[in-house]
Amino acid sequence: MLYVLLCLTAAQFSARTDLSAGGRYVWHGISRAAGLVAQPSLAVGLRIHRFSLESGAVLHYELDRVSAGELSETGAGGRQLGEEDFWGRASLLVGPTRLNAGVVRYGFRGDPSTGGLGPARNTTEVYAALSISSSYLNPSLEAWWDVERVRGAFLHAAFDLPVLGWPFPPYAFAFVQGDMGLNVGQGPNPARPGELANFAGRGITHIGLGVGADVRARRVSGIGWATLAFGVRSQLNLDDATRVNGTGRNRDFLAWLWTGITVVVGGEARERR
C-alpha cells in the first residue's frame, strides 16, 4: 500500500489534444477518404517513473461533400463524422527504447448504402510496438493483430529523422518520415471466405515518405506548449487495397498535404525550455 502511495506521488499526468487536417485519410497504407479530412484527438497519460498508462480518442471528419464513387468513409453526400477510434496502451521506457502494448477500437459511422463504412466494419486491434529514440534515426516497429473482424496480423515499420532543430524560440524542427507496411495475415482467408480482409495479398503493402516541420507556437512555463505542424506525405502503393482511390479507380502513387495543431500539457512539456 505504501509502495503504491509512493508511486502515485511520483506520477506525472499529461494530456494532449490535436487537431489535424489533411488532403487524405490513410490508415495502414489504405486510403479511406480522398478529400479534406479533419481529425481531432485527445489523449491523457499517467507516467510513474518509466512506466505509463495512456488512453485517447480520435475522430475522423470528412469535410468535403462526396459524390458517388469517390473514396469516403461517410458515403456519398456526407460531410460528417466517418470514424471514431478509442485506444489505450501501456508503455515502458528502458533507456532510449520504448515498449508499447495496447488496443484500438475502431467504430465506423458511414452509410453503407451510399458507399460508406458502417458499423458492420467496426473492429478491434491489439498491438505491440518497439521504438528507439535518438538524436538522429528514430525507428519503430509495430505488430498489429485484428482480433474481431479480419483476424490477422499486419506489421508496420517507420522512422522519423530530424533534419534541423532551430535552437532559438520559437523552436522549430524539420523532419523526414518514412514507413512501410507488411501484411502477414489481414488478406483474404480461403478457409473463411466470409471474413473481411484489409489487404489483397501478403507482402509489402506500401512504402511512404514525407517531410514536415514543427514550430513551437506557444509555451507556458510549467504547464505545457502548443505546436503548429505542416508537411507533405507521399506513398507508393504496392498492394491492390492500398491502390484503391474510389470506385474503379486505382493509384500507384499518392501525395497529400497535412497540417495540425497540438497542445501538450504536463509531463515533459512542462519543462521551462
Partner: protein
Amino acid sequence: MSGRPAVLLSAVAVLLAACGPTRLHVPGALSPTPKPGAEPSLQAGFARVDITPPPGVGLAGNGPEGAEARGYRLRLYARVLVLADGGGNRLALVVADLPLSSALLHRRVAELTRRTDGIGADRLVIAVTHTHAGPGHFFEAAGYNDQGSSVVGFDPVMVDSLTARIARAIHAAVADLRPARVAWGSRAVWGATRIRSLPAMLRNIPLPSAPADAPTGLPQEYRLVDPELAMLRVDQRDPASGAFRPAGAFSIFAMHGTGNAPSNDLLDADIHGLVERRLERHIDRDGGFVPRAVYLFANGAEGDVSPAWPPQSRCDVPTLTTLPALDGPFTRTLWQWRLPTATHLASCQHAARQAIAIIGKNVGDSAVALFDALGAVLSDRLEMGRAFATLSLRDSARALGICPEPAVGMSTLVGADDAHTRVQGWRLFGVCDIGLEQGSPNPDVPGCQAHKRKLLDGWFGDLPNRLSVSGTLPSYAQVTVLRLGSRVIGAVPGEVTTTAGSRMREQMLASARKAGLPVSAALILGHADGYMEYITTAEEYTAQYYEGASTLYGPGEAAMFGRTLARLAASLSAGDSLPAAAAPPLELVVGHQRHVVPRNSSTRVPPPRIERVWCSADTLYAWLQLGAAGEWPVSTGDVAAGPRVEVVVDDPTRAVVSWDDDPALELRLRSRHGGLGWWELRWSGASGRTYRVRIPGVVDSDPVSCSTP
C-alpha cells in the same frame, strides 16, 4: 494603381515594416572643447550604479543556451572612474557587469553626458566584464538581440534604463572629482586562466611562447596566457582631513566572464564581481551593503582565454529528441529539446559556483596585493590624451583591409569551449558533416573569407549568409586610444585573442613612442564601446575554431585594428574637440523589438512580508513577497542603501551573515501573482545554527534551526 490593389499592397508593406527589424539612427555625440578647470592638479571621481534588471530578461552570451533570468545572485553594477586634469580634459571609464558592450549604449550615454559633463563619445569608454549572466536586448546588431540568448528581441526599455543609469553615474563621478594621486602597476596571475583554443593559437608564426616567469609545472594552455593584471590605483583627497585616502582602482585582466555554467538562470556578476568586491571591501573594510571604494575590473585580450573552470562545471546541453508520451497510434511524433536532468544541472552548477569562488579569490587576492604595493609609488601626475575613430566596416572595407561582407563560420554556431551549444557535432541525417564542430576550416573556398565555412555554403555559396546572416551583424567599430600616464590603452569593440592582442600592443606602443610619448607599456581593453565578436590573427583564423569563425570581417581584422590603434596612438590629443568625422551617425539594425523587460504591473504594492522559512541540510529557504513583479532591485537612486533581504544569526548579536549580494544567496522569482513579486531565497551557507530571515526595517522571520548535515 487603382484602389483595391493599392490598399492591399500598402497593407502588406505596413505589415512587413511592422514585422521587420527595428532600425535606429544614432547621432555622433562628440565632446565639446574642454574648458580649463579651477583645480590645476589631477582629479579623480568614482561612482557606482546598480543595473540589475528584473527577472524575465535573457542572459546573453551563450546563444541558445542562455537562460531566462529567474532572479539574481551578485548584483550587477556599472562602475565609473572619471579622471580630469587642470586643462579641463575629462576621461570617463565605465566598466559594467554586462555580457557585451554596445555602440548603441555608448552613443546614447555620450549624448547625455556630453551636455551635462562635457564627456562625449571620444572621452567615454564603456567596457563590460563579459559576464554571461547579464542581460541582453540592448545591443547594436540584430544578431545579438535576436540570438543572444533563449529570450529573443531588442527592448528599448533596456537601452533607456541602462543609458539613464550609466549617464547618472558618470554625472555622479564628475561631482565626486577631487584631487587625486595615482600609480600604475602590474602583477602576473597564474593558474586562474587558460587558452581555450590552443590548436588555433599554435598556428601563429612565430610560435607563441610563455613568459619567462611562467611556472614550469603548469600545462601549456595555462602557460601561454597573458597573465598580466594591470592596475591604476587611485587615491582621493579627503575633503575633511586633506589627506589622500585609497578610493579605488581601474584594472585590465584577460579572462572570459564565463565562470557560471551556461544553464545558470540567475543574473550574476560572475568571477569579475567577486574580484571587484574583494578589493572594494579590502579598501573599505567598514563599508556597509555597498562599499564606498570602487574597483573597475575590465577585460583585456580575453578572446581565447577562459577562466580555469573544471570540466564538471559545464552542463550537458539540451538534446533533440521525440516527446516520449502521448503519441498515440495515429498521432504524429512531437519533437523537443530535452533538458538534462535536474540532478545533473544542479551538480554542474554547483561545480561552477565552487570554481568561481576559487578563481575569484585567487585573482582578488592578487588585486589586493597589487593595490597595496602601489601605495608606495603614488603620484599626482597623470598625463592624459585620447584619440577616437569610428570605422565604417562595410563601406570602407577595402581601405581597411577587411572583407566587405561580414560572416560567421559554422564553428560559431557550435559555441566556444566554455559553452558548447546544442548543435555541436550535429550532422545532417546523422551522416553528412556540415561543419558544426570546433576547428572546421574550408580551405578550398576562394574569396576574402576563405577558410571560413559558412552556413550551407557548399550548396548555395555565399547566398545564405547574405540573405540571413550578414544583415544581422554589426557595421561599425568604435576604437579609442587613451593615454593615462605611462600607459597607452587601446579600447577595442570585440574579443581580441592573446596573440592578436600582443601584436596590437606592440604596434600601439611603437607608434606612441615614435610620436615622442614617454610611455612604457600598452594595454588592450576589450569589450569596449561596441561588439563585433572576435578578433583573431590571420593564422588563427585559418584554424576556424570558435574565435576564428566569429572573426566577422575576415582574416585581416587583427591587422586592421593594429594599424588603427597605431594611427590613433600617434594622434593622441587633449584640450581639443575632434572633427565630426570621428563619430559619424550610426545607422543600426537592432532586430525585432519585443516587450522583454517586465513593466511594473501593480500600482499598489503592499509592504514586503515573509511567508515561510525552513532549512534543508546546509541550505536555508524562505518564501517572500518583495515589491512589484516588474520592479528593478534598485528602482530609484543609484545604489541601494541596504539589502532587500538579510540572513541574521538568531542570538542577541543578530549578526548579519548574508544578504542579497552574496554568492551563496540566491533570490529567485517564484511567481508574479497579482502584479507582485513572490520570491524564493536560498542561502547555502547555513552551518548548524539558528537563523532568521530579515527584510530590513520591516520584519524578521521566526527563527529556523539549520542542523549540520
